[in-house]
């Protein structure tokens, strides 16, 4: 109890789910019916044995809340928990550009596949498990198709391979000779031109259509699955899966044909979007051999900002329903947003791709009692339950109606928790917008998964947040890469979005930057943002591209490497605004937007400053100074905690239960371990990070 007061953690303040995977507890009986409906729909995808024929035409499940705070994201979290390792779960934040919608969805999908599965014993990434699953069945089909002479005698072993692909194919396989022989055999089949054609044909026999790219898919998946992490093959496979073009050495490492390297180096946003859709369709098709996908479109209030975004959302749902198999798509929304902003702007054909609404319910008196008691217990405050949940106080919230919104209840409980027992004392002050934003930053900081590159966030910053700054006109020039610009009569700043590291594409970007500079009337700057999870540009072995980039840098190209602090701030800003749109915070969207515009004014100033072209930036090109680089190096060194540090962390938290992160960092060796520490907390089932406005508090959960 004294700990709690010391660190100022209010057990009821966590009333917004920023990341559904964080959901651990749910009140028995609350919204069980909608959950069961979603589980039943999912069950229709997994009726037959693996490999399954592709299942198409499942409508998007429309989960509707009567207002904000009834548990939309919480329901998704419960669904994720229930489905466990039966589905690949993709949580989709709103996309910002209609012409890049599929690119955003694919990026989120590949980022998720690159994470370790939470619900599986397999220690590798989900993509590894996916690849093993596909390859195991294809290999088994090949053997059954006459590839081995005495099939009947080895049939039990083949069946075992089908049922336990991860155990047999993963490097952790206890039967090393079997594992090595099988992988060698499979690799030899993929290297043999006639065998690989036969293997590709087996996809079609199962109804899995990959637009003639069967061989490429096989080699990409094998390249990923059978190569160690951080290898050239894995990097190449991920590049291909993200719909980015491959370098020649990457092509060779995967042994794929040049024609299968189908992402153009010099491509328009629309072409990038098309290829993203093809990759996503391929992944979903191949999930016939593994497990279906679940795509969750949450925070849909954001789409209501423009008719174009609503139309793009409808078009994506339509394509998912009609053209992409093996997935359950869920769209959550508030009833009034759906009726006022989304539905009226959506074509009837798109509307027809949504299921009848699945309604969420409010919490009742008994469930409320249970939820509040659980929150107190989680913070070892069990002795305060009777005193806190006084019958008269709790009942007063249910006088008007027997069910109320969960967030409303938690809000009142949070107020009561902080209010001194003296009834005459003034009610707690409303938190300031500054403090609310600081809290949002710490929330992003506490969740490393929220810090990954997000083109939507960068687009939101450069297209939406900047509006109104210094009389800027936000333009959309018809350019391949620099398709967004800030324009003033005397100068222009253009932005390109590129997460890849293909040197030919970067040459094209640099060339376009130079063309922009030479064709403009005023001074020009062109900017490409990079985040710490992306590879540095230019690559270490680039020669010609480096020269072109240097040349472009002299004409205004800047590759801005955002620091992790900047990424957290930027991602938090979008999340804060999105929360305001969803009614998750006590501030109106306009108020939040006004605050953020002011807060980010120094950013706008910094990036809108156009230096004369005669002063090229000093190396490193990336625009980051020495201290930032040093910082990045320090971060890189502390990318993971050592076994000994993990032991210190666990024993300290187990003893203290609730501890300020600074205290833990002191024990681990300093601030530079912060990222690694938070990553460890995210992975550990008993650890939880609570974001506060001033700091992050770590908790040991029993």
């Amino acid at each position: 109890m004294s700990d709690v007061n010391a660190v100022h953690v209010n057990p009821f303040e966590a009333d917004v789910i920023a990341e559904p995977r964080a959901v651990r507890y749910s009140v028995p009986g609350l919204n069980d019916e909608p959950l069961q409906t979603l589980l039943d729909r999912f069950a229709s995808l997994t009726r037959s044995e693996l490999p399954r024929p592709p299942v198409r035409g499942v409508k998007a499940q429309l989960v509707v809340s009567p207002d904000a705070g009834y548990g939309k994201s919480h329901l998704l979290g419960r669904l994720f928990q229930k489905l466990g390792d039966r589905a690949t779960q993709i949580y989709l934040r709103p996309f910002e550009s209609a012409e890049r919608a599929w690119s955003s969805i694919l990026l989120a999908t590949v980022q998720e596949l690159e994470r370790t599965g939470e619900h599986s014993d397999h220690g590798g990434t989900q993509l590894e498990a996916f690849a093993f699953g596909v390859l195991a069945h294809v290999a088994a089909d090949f053997m059954a198709d006459g590839a081995i002479s005495d099939y009947e005698s080895v049939k039990p072993a083949i069946d075992y391979l089908r049922e336990h692909p991860l155990q047999v194919l993963s490097p952790a396989c206890p039967y090393k000779p079997l594992n090595e022989t099988l992988i060698k055999w499979l690799r030899a089949r993929l290297d043999d031109s006639s065998d690989v054609i036969r293997l590709g044909a087996l996809f079609r026999r199962r109804g899995v259509e990959l637009d003639g790219r069967e061989k490429a898919w096989l080699r990409v998946l094998a390249g990923y699955a059978f190569s160690p992490s951080a290898s050239v093959e894995r990097d190449a496979a991920l590049t291909w899966l993200r719909g980015e073009p491959l370098e020649q050495d990457q092509e060779q490492s995967l042994k794929i044909r040049h024609a299968d390297n189908d992402a153009a180096e010099d491509a328009m946003a629309r072409q990038i979007n098309d290829i993203s859709l093809r990759r996503l369709r391929g992944l979903c098709m191949l999930s016939s051999y593994y497990r279906p996908f679940v795509f969750c479109f949450d925070q849909t209030e954001s789409y209501g900002r423009t008719a174009e975004l609503v139309d793009a959302l409808g078009s994506c749902i339509c394509e998912l329903c009609d053209g992409i198999p093996n997935h359950l798509t869920i769209v959550t929304c508030n009833a009034t947003n759906w009726l006022q902003e989304l539905r009226p702007r959506m074509l009837p054909a798109y509307q027809a791709r949504f299921s009848p609404p699945i309604d969420l319910q409010g919490i009742d008196h008994n469930q409320a009692k249970e939820l509040l008691a659980q929150r107190l217990q989680e913070f070892q405050l069990g002795q305060r339950i009777i005193e806190f949940i006084a019958p008269s106080w709790l009942s007063s919230h249910f006088e008007a109606q027997p069910r109320i919104g969960v967030r409303y209840l938690l809000g009142r409980a949070a107020e009561r928790f902080r209010r001194p027992s003296d009834a005459t004392a003034s009610p707690p002050r409303k938190v300031s917008v500054d403090a609310a934003f600081a809290l949002e930053i710490n929330k992003v900081r506490a969740k490393p998964a929220l810090q990954q590159y997000s083109q939507d966030c960068l687009m939101w910053f450069s297209e939406w947040l900047v509006q109104g700054f210094d009389g800027v006109t936000v333009a959309k020039p018809a350019r391949k890469y620099f398709s967004l610009g800030w324009e003033w009569p005397d100068r222009s700043v253009y932005f390109a979005l590129e997460a890849g590291h293909n040197n030919a594409r970067w040459r094209a970007i640099a060339n376009e930057a130079m063309a922009l500079a030479s064709g403009a009337r005023g001074a020009v700057r062109s900017i490409v943002f990079r985040t710490p999870d992306l590879k540095p540009i230019p690559g270490p072995n680039w020669v010609a591209a480096r020269r072109t980039i240097d040349e472009a840098a002299a004409k205004g190209l800047r590759i801005i490497n955002l620091t992790i602090d900047e990424v957290c701030e930027l991602h938090a800003a979008r999340e804060f605004y999105s929360n305001a749109l969803q009614g998750n915070v006590d501030f109106a969207p306009t108020e939040v937007l006004g605050f953020l515009k002011e807060r980010f004014a120094p950013w706008f100033k910094r990036y809108s400053r156009v230096q004369p072209s005669s002063h090229p930036p000093r190396r490193p090109l990336a625009g980051c100074d020495a201290s930032v680089q040093k910082d990045a190096q320090a971060n890189a060194r502390a990318s993971e905690l050592t076994r000994a540090q993990i032991d210190i962390l666990i024993s300290h938290l187990r003893a203290r239960r609730l501890v300020d992160i600074k205290e833990v960092l002191e024990k681990l060796g300093g601030e530079r371990f912060k990222q690694a520490l938070l990553q460890q907390v995210e992975k550990h089932p008993n650890l939880k990070a609570h974001a506060g406005a001033q700091t992050i508090v770590l908790q040991w959960r029993v």
Binding site: R41, R47, D67, A68, P356
Partner: protein
């Protein structure tokens, strides 16, 4: 044991449907297996149920499953044929007996909402029903407007949840099945006084037959907000209402 076999058996049973016990017998499987098969069939949309019909609980193949529309058609046909003779609620219940009970109240509400039938109050508040066609025939079509207005007055003076439900169902259908209907839309359609509707909604909310909700994430026009119910301690007025489904 396979889903296909079970669906064949259900299809053969047609509009009679089958109880889980009958289905288990027909398939020669245990009760637990039958539940599993039925769950799967329901999940993929090829079977519907359970529907409580009389004393038994039945399942149907999707093509033969009863629907509210069946009940509505039957009631409408009966009342049209009855002409000006009033039909009691219990008589209508008897007519709808072959269908699941759950559909009956909804069918009556929907028919009233569409204006296909008229509900009248008899002695001791008994409910009596009449089809609109014989009624209009009797009153002559040209007097429909005046009659409609008088009928509306009658409705407002005896505002009940049933009256609200019929309008609510029509509005809900219009907005694609979304349950949250604005109080403003209800008021507009019903023509009742705001105070009277608010009083009814608050009473019914208290007893759990409906729920009231704010709309904190949408900027409604002022008239929609003004039609809402303001309550002490609530940051936003309640502007939408969700009626609990009739069991």
């Amino acid at each position: 044991m396979s889903g296909d076999t079970a669906i064949d058996v259900l299809a053969r049973a047609g509009s009679q449907g089958l109880t889980p016990v009958d289905l288990a017998k027909a398939l020669g499987i245990s009760k637990a297996c039958t539940s599993q098969v039925l769950r799967e069939l329901k999940a993929n949309g090829s079977a519907r149920g359970p529907f409580r019909i009389g004393r038994s609980t039945r399942y149907f193949s999707a093509t033969h499953a009863p629907s509210r529309q069946h009940v509505e058609d039957r009631i409408e046909e009966w009342l049209r044929n009855a002409g000006l003779k009033l039909t009691s609620l219990s008589d209508l219940e008897a007519i709808a007996r072959p269908w699941p009970k759950a559909f009956f109240k909804d069918a009556i509400s929907a028919l009233k909402g569409e204006g296909a039938i008229v509900e009248l109050r008899g002695p001791r508040k008994s409910r009596l029903y009449l089809h609109r066609e014989p009624l209009l025939e009797q009153l002559r079509v040209e007097r429909e407007g005046a009659t409609g207005a008088r009928e509306l007055e009658d409705t407002t003076s005896s505002l009940s949840l049933d009256t609200v439900r019929s309008v609510y169902e029509a509005l809900r259908a219009q907005q694609g099945g979304i349950s949250a209907v604005t109080i403003y839309d209800l008021l507009k359609r019903m023509g009742s006084s705001k105070e009277e509707l608010h009083r009814l909604l608050l009473d019914e909310a208290k007893s759990g037959r409906l729920t009231l909700h704010p709309a904190s994430t949408v900027n409604f026009p002022s008239e929609v907000m003004e039609a809402g119910i303001r309550m002490e301690g609530q940051p936003y007025p309640f502007v939408t209402v969700v009626l609990k489904e009739v069991a």
